[in-house]
């Protein structure tokens, strides 16, 4: 796992000494008379992996597109790698990586030829610290497309195309990588390879990663920090562990004794189990101790927000974590 945000002692990158890589404050987006984002606030430090979760239509993609500089916001402050994305120049663009969901573009190009061509765009932006672009052979190797290097893009399978999307996203050795539902359509093996890749980028190259996903298991495995976007706001912000504590301090304990099943919720699970054993010793069997899972957290947070319990003017859980 990447270093926890508070322990980052990053060597200063050009123009971003100790600044957070992403800083979003009170971001608002309105389409016509519909408010999609009603004041999103969060930040990401260098080398952090952030997962943005939320129901469909919550504004995940809108948020990412604003940060990528592909969409103009209605209001709020946004700073990405030291620039406002709305006015990001080409040097700024060269420090970002965007993994797009491809469809059928560049079908006639050969895989290696396309990576080589896209890589050239980054050459003028190579610095002493970061050599750009990443070599084509290395890229093909990282995403496991080496044996398909000379295939035309249109002949690739869906999963291979997604690997190519990822390769294109990291060809410029980005300092910040955006991944919008990166593993949709991946088989389990491709998914595991992809997770290894994200860890590698974050750990070895200090790349900051912001990804959206519907796969809670994936978010828990990949992310240092999870953001839940619901009702146009960040309603939760923290590690999977922190979030589960926010939802419920209780631990669920299940066991059997004398052929009977028992379930108990305790504030301090460890103390309860210690007592349980002290009292019954070897009579206890089939013990399970379980804190709320990320899925429980997610359901609780989203439900709480959608049923309006959190109220429209409350900042949500995001603020408590600051």
């Amino acid at each position: 796992m990447a270093a926890a945000p508070h322990h980052v002692t990053a060597s200063p990158a050009p123009g971003s000494a100790d600044q957070p890589v992403i800083e979003v404050h009170d971001l608002r987006m309105r389409y016509g008379s519909t408010d999609v984002l009603k004041g999103v606030t969060f930040r990401a430090e260098r080398g952090e992996v952030l997962a943005l979760l939320g129901p469909n239509g919550a504004g995940k993609t809108t948020t990412i597109e604003i940060l990528e500089g592909f969409r103009m916001r209605s209001a709020g402050q946004v700073n990405v790698l030291g620039s406002d994305p709305a006015h990001g120049d080409e040097r700024w663009r060269a420090r970002l990586g965007v993994v797009l969901q491809s469809w059928r573009d560049h079908g006639k190009w050969r895989v290696a030829e396309l990576l080589e061509h896209f890589g050239r765009y980054y050459r003028p932006y190579s610095t002493a610290e970061i050599s750009r672009p990443r070599g084509t052979a290395e890229l093909l190797d990282i995403v496991g497309l080496a044996e398909h290097a000379n295939k035309q893009v249109r002949t690739l399978s869906g999963g291979q195309r997604r690997r190519l999307d990822v390769a294109i996203g990291i060809v410029g050795r980005p300092e910040l990588l955006f991944l919008d539902e990166p593993t949709a359509g991946f088989d389990p093996e491709a998914r595991r390879d992809f997770h290894d890749l994200v860890h590698r980028l974050a750990d070895l190259e200090d790349t900051t990663v912001l990804l959206t996903t519907h796969d809670l298991d994936e978010a828990e495995k990949l992310a240092d920090r999870i953001l839940i976007l619901a009702g146009g706001r960040i309603v939760a912000d923290g590690s999977a562990d922190q979030l589960s504590r926010q939802v419920s301090r209780k631990t669920e304990i299940r066991w059997t004794r004398g052929g009977q099943r028992f379930v108990h919720s305790a504030d301090d699970g460890t103390a309860f189990v210690r007592e349980l054993f002290a009292q019954y010793g070897e009579e206890i069997g089939d013990l399970e101790v379980r804190r709320a899972t990320l899925e429980d957290v997610y359901m609780a947070m989203v439900h709480r927000h959608e049923s309006g319990v959190a109220g429209d003017d409350e900042p949500g859980f995001g603020g408590e974590n600051r």
């Binding site: 592909f70 663009r93 060269a94 797009l100 469809w103 573009d105 006639k108 190009w109 050459r123």
Partner: protein, 288 residues
């Protein structure tokens, strides 16, 4: 390093790569050159037909000789406007443009590439007509001056049509609709622009319509480069009107080059993953 020049160089590379891909994919090449082949067949069919009832009767200029330069002009307009508009709009629909936008100076590189590849394929489609026509059809006149005329008319023609094609391609989102509408319009213009028969045979008000658009002037310019001066008798004012040709084509080029960056920038700015997703859905519904 000047990164703008760098992007230009990448655009040239990109255009060349796209052109090469078109050449190596048979179905692709076929669809581009089919029109040329049909036109050559039509010209050969017309060869030997004298220009009856016109001042060109008995001058050695046949219907095929007179039509060939106009057919070159038509191919140029098809390439510069229809292909450009279609490809731009297709690239927008399938995400090629968005992908370019995510690269530093990617949009510029993309556009230069598109101009290069469309120009090359257009020139190729013209050569496929020019070479067999010159070998098989009598009555052309070749001079150094005439060849130079052919070159500058072609160059100015590309400048006049490519920006217009790019603008049309950015204004309309459905590539299939664009092609349909533009092909119909061009067919109509071809009829009134003196391509297959002298414009002098048409009522005068149609002359004015024809003279607004580049296709008439391109045809005139090509004829001035390929036909002997005796052929000028059936032109408006019995003159090749070189200055007017430069003026009108130049005006199209100028307006196009002024407007295209504004329209293209507006179009590129709107590209995002979600707008792409929307179009993908629409396209899937059309197919499915």
């Amino acid at each position: 390093m000047n990164t703008m020049l760098f992007a230009l160089r990448l655009g040239l590379l990109r255009g060349w790569a796209e052109f090469r891909q078109t050449l190596t994919i048979l179905s692709e090449l076929g669809s581009y050159l089919l029109n040329s082949v049909i036109f050559v067949a039509v010209l050969l069919f017309m060869d030997g037909n004298e220009m009856e009832n016109t001042a060109l009767f008995g001058t050695g200029i046949t219907q095929a000789t007179l039509a060939m330069p106009g057919v070159l002009a038509t191919m140029l307009v098809f390439g510069g406007i229809v292909s450009m508009a279609q490809l731009l709009s297709t690239d927008r629909e399938d995400g090629t443009l968005l992908r370019a936008k995510a690269l530093p100076r990617g949009t510029q590189g993309y556009l230069v590439g598109k101009v290069v590849s469309v120009s090359l394929i257009t020139l190729l489609s013209m050569l496929v007509i020019l070479v067999p026509a010159v070998l098989l059809i009598d009555g052309f006149q070749f001079t150094v001056q005439g060849s130079l005329t052919l070159l500058w008319v072609t160059a100015l023609g590309l400048l006049a049509t490519l920006p217009a094609g790019a603008i049309l391609g950015s204004l309309f989102t459905n590539p299939r609709a664009i092609v349909g509408v533009l092909v119909l319009l061009l067919m109509g213009l071809m009829m009134v622009s003196g391509i297959f028969f002298p414009i002098s045979m048409l009522p005068e008000w149609l002359h004015w319509v024809a003279q607004v658009f580049p296709i008439y002037w391109l045809g005139l310019g090509m004829r001035s480069g390929l036909l002997p001066d005796t052929a000028v008798v059936e032109e408006i004012g019995e003159s090749w009107r070189t200055l007017e040709t430069v003026g009108v084509l130049g005006a199209w080029a100028l307006v196009g080059l002024l407007l295209a960056p504004i329209v293209l920038r507006r179009m590129a700015r709107r590209e995002s993953g979600s707008s792409l997703e929307e179009r993908r859905h629409k396209a899937m519904q059309r197919i499915g």
